[in-house]
Symmetry: none
Subunit: 192 residues, 4 copies
DNA sequence: AATGAATGAGCCTTCATTCAT
DNA sequence: TATGAATGAAGGCTCATTCAT
């Protein structure tokens, strides 16, 4: 498996179906049998690829989270100014989430639920480090306020997440202009 | 029986137990029978006070949300400066949530789930108006940035919520100093 | 009680409500609490008048059955010819049932169910005897066919019941003419 | 397992058990779990074969009704005289019901209850037409009285049903002689 | 007599998981 | 690998009945 052969990518099909269904219906309104139906496999085989429904969801989280972090850090480089790096993270994050609303809904739900394991997926270490590094370096360079990294995160990426959430709930229209204005405001929040 | 205790406020006991259990275990891991056990009543009587489990949860939401909004707006007055009003809302919100972690966990979970009815409880109108009014007035007065109210909310109250969430998850220690520093940062974000 | 005083005829009100509700909804779709609501009493008091729901239904059966038999034999006299007596029973039965559709529906349901106790209510003995006597006398007199009384009953009253049932189900319009024609046919069936 | 037995016809076993239990105990005294126990399956699997308890009962009705009608019309032919055809229907009906008392009890209960859907099962159309045709043709030929078909049905098949019901209740012994005598009486009722 | 809150057993149904094929 | 019938443990909810008042 994992070879790339299309015919047998059942595992991927299962994860896709699970993402779509859970995003729309929630964990507990998404029976394993429904994931099986939608992904075109039998219920039994799901237990060949995943140990349990919970394990399937956890694995889905890892996949989706990694994807998100990779998109967000795409093109990141220390050659950019701090503001430039911030803007890149901001724009990437917003674009990715807006174009992957199921992923956003799933992450939101997952991270607000008791499924949440406090630790982040291991594969994401590089991307995480990069983002954390941005804030640490910015503080050290005196460009960013001297606040704990989690606070700076809440003041920037957290806000972006909140705005996209409202966009997806259609209680706010987040176009490029508004996104840029919000980025400015966040920069005011975190920069010295 | 139980003379000294509250005079058989079963309804209240049920809501209390539900809040505690759901905050810890989630809606779907909290059977009605468990709520009954913890609140010391029979399972059947719950359906005397509430039409269904969902209705119980919705009612709990209304109660908890109203409580939260009332705490947050306690002492609010247009006599205060904009910054003063902002600080009051900020401090009230953070204090209330930190001292009511179950309520916070419940609200977070509820508002990220499909239980969420898009409309806010009717009893909260006054408090909501007050908060919204703060932002609208501030923009009109040129004190706050000319951004849509939801964006200003995300940049301020949203950040507070995020910080408290991390505090409760014990990934951040949110003492008064840090809270004040974060409030400063948010003020930078929203003020002109 | 039983004095005739209107104010306190709760027992009657309960039976009335039970008849109406059970006729429309069936035994098992008619909770005791609903009978209480409709009859304007509390659920608890029903157990003062009746030992149990089953006993209430049994009592209702006795009442309704007696009423039916009394109507059917009203005006009966051995002075009439056999055919005259038959017509009287026929017309009485059909009239009563058509004007008491709830009673009919209830009896039908009761007598087809496992609630049915094989013995008839004791208060009806006189009326029963009268009807049975009609058939026995008719056979003895050579006017009616020499068949067991239950068979003669099925061939006459049983048919009337069946016709009224269809009338109430609106699958047949049973006017006086058709009723008379059917009575003629039944008379052909039972007479020598 | 259970090698010799029928090859795991669970669906049939469920219907059989349901028929037996419901005939004896009524719909509402027959929990799904009891049907499962008696038919030797788990409760859950019943919902694999039927959408709900109600659907199971409806399906049972269709099966039993079709079986009944097929037995009743077995050997029917327009080559027979009207009286011959009547006797065939009569004898078939009585034999079938007497040898299938559970089916009779179930049908009686079902058709007197609010489960009854006014329309007959679709699969029975041919048999129904045949029986209705008998009466219509007989009237047209001047052999039967000019009464609406439902009335003629009540006067004949309805009586047969009533007699068998009494037989099963052991309030009447319906042997072949008595059955024949009753058929004669019914013929008197419907023929010109 | 009367109320109606309270109980608790039992019912229908769902669904994660297993297993024979 | 793959299927899908089968299991069985819960879960939400109803309702006959009781009991403190």
């Amino acid at each position: 498996m994992e070879k790339g052969d299309k015919p047998a990518d059942k595992r991927g099909a299962i994860l896709d179906a699970a993402l779509r269904l859970i995003a729309e219906r929630g964990f507990h309104n998404t029976p394993v049998s429904m994931i099986a139906d939608v992904s075109g496999v039998s219920a039994g085989i799901i237990y060949h690829y995943f140990d349990s429904k919970d394990e399937l969801i956890l694995e889905l989280y890892r996949t989706v989270k990694l994807d998100m972090l990779q998109s967000m850090t795409d093109g990141y480089s220390n050659d950019l100014s701090y503001r430039g790096r911030f803007d890149l993270l901001w724009v990437n994050a917003i674009r990715h989430v807006i174009s992957h609303p199921d992923a956003a809904a799933f992450l939101e739900q997952f991270e607000s639920s008791s499924y949440m394991e406090p630790t982040l997926p291991e594969d994401c270490v590089a991307e995480i480090d990069l983002v954390m590094g941005f804030f640490a370096d910015g503080v050290a360079a005196g460009v960013l306020k001297d606040l704990p990294t989690p606070v700076l995160l809440s003041l920037s990426i957290g806000v972006a997440a909140s705005l996209v959430k409202q966009h997806l709930a259609e209680t706010l229209v987040l176009d490029d202009d508004l996104s840029a204005a919000a980025a400015d405001a966040c920069w005011d929040a975190i920069s010295t």
